[in-house]
């Protein structure tokens, strides 16, 4: 198990387009394991490769539902619909929270750790997290989509 350091804003890697993954080897497997350990250690429900300083289109998502941990290599959004607003926070922006508008439904095509393509349909929170992480792979940060920021004291009233 290895917990990596989380890269924080304004590190420039967070705003770059990530490279396509071409090698599906044991190194990739190790990266995915490390990303999982790091995500769990920081109480995350999603993590993208640039957040641990890696220039690669890799993201993982785990919202504790029946999907378990979903690993996305080179993901593409092939369809989305609907609209929902909810609060988000990002491991690369400690103590910053804001409402973000996202699709309620998303269809994603990606490859698994062996390079095999798969399609995932996600709704609600799962769709939100997937979209947040895939944005990371294109250098897009949630702060560019926030419609309303929260003050720290607003978060203590138990509403969220």
């Amino acid at each position: 198990m290895a917990i990596r350091e989380i890269i924080k804003y304004p590190n420039p890697i967070l705003e770059k387009e990530m490279r396509i993954v071409e090698q599906f080897d044991s190194k990739l497997k190790q990266i995915l394991e490390d990303m999982y350990d790091t995500m769990v250690a920081y109480d995350g429900i999603g993590l993208a490769a640039p957040q641990i300083g890696l220039d690669a289109q890799i993201a993982i998502v785990d919202i504790d539902d029946q999907h378990g941990t979903i690993e996305f290599i080179n993901p593409k959004i092939i369809a989305q619909s609907g609209s929902q607003i909810d609060i988000e926070g990002c491991l690369s922006f400690p103590n910053l929270y804001g409402d973000v508008r996202r699709a309620t439904y998303v269809k994603i095509q990606a490859q698994n750790r062996l390079g095999k393509p798969f399609i995932l349909e996600a709704r609600g929170l799962l769709a939100r997290v997937c979209l947040h992480e895939i944005d990371h792979l294109h250098g897009i940060l949630f702060t560019s989509k926030v419609v309303k920021y929260y003050q720290p004291e607003e978060l203590k009233d138990g509403k969220h």
Binding site: M1, A41, D43, G44, I45, G46, I63, D64, D65, Q66, G68, I87, E88, G89, C90, L91, Y97, L125, R128, V129, H132, E133, F142, L155, G158, H160
Partner: protein, 457 residues
């Protein structure tokens, strides 16, 4: 993305236990390491920490019993892993944890199931659990053959129970299996180079810990509660965390000041450090491991304890003669890789993971290492073999085989004189050997054999 507070509020001790169990199942993570890690990072109240530990260890330990019952109510192979694990976790509480009311168990399980299935599986979980509770009395009244009954009561696989029975008889086999269900106690070994008994007890008291001296070993103390690895006294090297049984290895080795000792499977360095402490920081203990990160672990431990007579190095125990001159050590310790059947209470997953074939596969490695280690022992020197497993395949048979091939080695007739009598009196011990079963002293099951190399006249 962060888990937001509205999800975090739903996190509770059972959910955490469920996630930990799933991680152990999926990744084969060692349960004791993971439980400690979760306890360190999770924000649980103290009362829930105890429950968390009990839920994880208990569910793992009783897995085969739980599955046997569940298989009569659900189709096991068609049930998602998380759902199966949730049912095991809940059933464990219903059958074996009296202090949790049944309705609370069902309620929590239904809530978790709803969360994880978007509401779909709540009534399914409710139905299964209520059905089982209705038949609880009948389930608990089981009969059958010795192995079947013991397997059901204590959740050990059949082969393991038969193996224990063949080695130690029915009565001892039952005691072993039952004692494997008792959560392990943390024990520590005082570092005599840094502190004294009185001083250590006082220091620990100041830090809010209660330790009581062991009845048999002067350097050993038993922890009442809490994790001593988090104490200041641990950081500053006043003690090591080590099970009482494995402390006996240094007694069996009995190194003298100025000696040259080799611990050829040394990581994480507990026995290495004990040997170095007994040599009062003099001489040299070479401690090897085949993995670089484990060598670093030995170094870290030696540094923390202030033991300058430890040399940690990378090396393969199967080909020691490539790294050291022949006959160059007074004592060579082979603390061999083994199946761990003596430490099931610490690592309950051993019950599910190990097979009879593993024992024979390990036996081959053990023989190889012992053979290679023997060449480095000086004439008149000592060769110590130890494992944290019980049963002849990995212990007595390895020694018998070794002695047949190496007539210049004999069993050390002076071993028993070096072991505290309270420990020796527990069971009949063969010359040069020491066997500890887990229920003897509520410590690890352990095997030690001391051999001496002939002096050339």
């Amino acid at each position: 993305m962060y888990r937001m507070k509205k999800q975090r509020e739903q996190e509770n001790v059972r959910n955490l236990a469920l996630n930990t169990l799933l991680k152990i199942e999926k990744e084969g993570a060692y349960s004791n390491l993971l439980v400690n890690q979760v306890l360190k990072t999770a924000k649980l109240p103290l009362t829930d920490k105890g429950l968390f530990t009990e839920l994880v260890y208990g569910t793992l330990q009783r897995k085969s019993t739980l599955d046997e019952i569940l298989s009569e109510y659900i189709q096991m192979n068609k049930t998602a892993l998380w759902l199966l694990m949730l049912l095991r976790l809940s059933l464990y509480q219903v059958l074996f944890l009296d202090r949790v009311p049944e309705h609370a168990v069902v309620h929590e399980a239904v809530e978790i199931a709803k969360q994880r299935s978007k509401g779909r599986l709540g009534s399914f979980v409710n139905g299964v659990l209520r059905n089982i509770i209705r038949n609880k009395e009948k389930i608990l009244l089981v009969s059958g053959s010795f192995a079947k009954q013991l397997s059901f009561q204590t959740a050990h696989p059949f082969w393991m129970i038969s193996y224990f029975k063949d080695n130690f008889g029915e009565e001892e086999a039952q005691k072993i299996c039952e004692s494997n269900l008792i959560p392990p106690k943390q024990t520590i070994r005082l570092n005599p180079l840094r502190t004294t008994r009185e001083n250590l007890i006082r220091k620990m008291k100041e830090e809010g810990f209660t330790i009581t001296p062991s009845d048999f070993l002067k350097e050993c103390f038993i922890n009442k509660q809490g994790n001593l690895a988090l104490s200041q006294a641990f950081e500053t090297g006043l003690f090591s965390i080590q099970d009482g049984s494995s402390m006996l290895v240094a007694y069996a080795s009995d190194p003298k000041e100025g000696m040259k000792v080799l611990d050829c499977c040394g990581a994480p360095g507990g026995k290495t450090a004990h040997l170095a402490e007994r040599m009062n920081g003099t001489g040299m203990v070479v401690s090897q491991d085949i993995h670089p990160h484990k060598v670093r672990l030995i170094q870290k431990n030696a540094k923390r304890l202030g033991l300058k007579n430890i040399v940690a190095q990378l090396g393969d125990a199967k080909c020691l003669t490539e790294q050291h001159p022949l006959k160059s050590f007074d004592i060579v310790l082979v603390d061999a890789p083994c199946s761990g059947l003596g430490v099931i209470r610490r690592k309950p997953e051993i019950k599910d993971e190990k097979t009879m074939e593993d024992l024979f596969r390990l036996q081959e490695i053990q023989q190889q290492i012992l053979q290679s280690a023997a060449k480095l022992v000086k004439d008149g020197g000592r060769l110590i073999y130890s494992t944290c497993t019980i049963g002849a395949i990995e212990n007595q048979n390895v020694i018998q085989h070794f002695l047949l091939q190496n007539p210049n080695f004999t069993r050390d007739s002076s071993l028993h004189a070096r072991i505290p009598t309270g420990i020796l009196n527990k069971r009949v011990q063969k010359e040069g050997e020491l066997l500890i079963l887990p229920h003897d002293f509520n410590s690890d099951g352990f095997y030690i054999c001391a051999l001496v190399k002939e002096r050339i006249k």
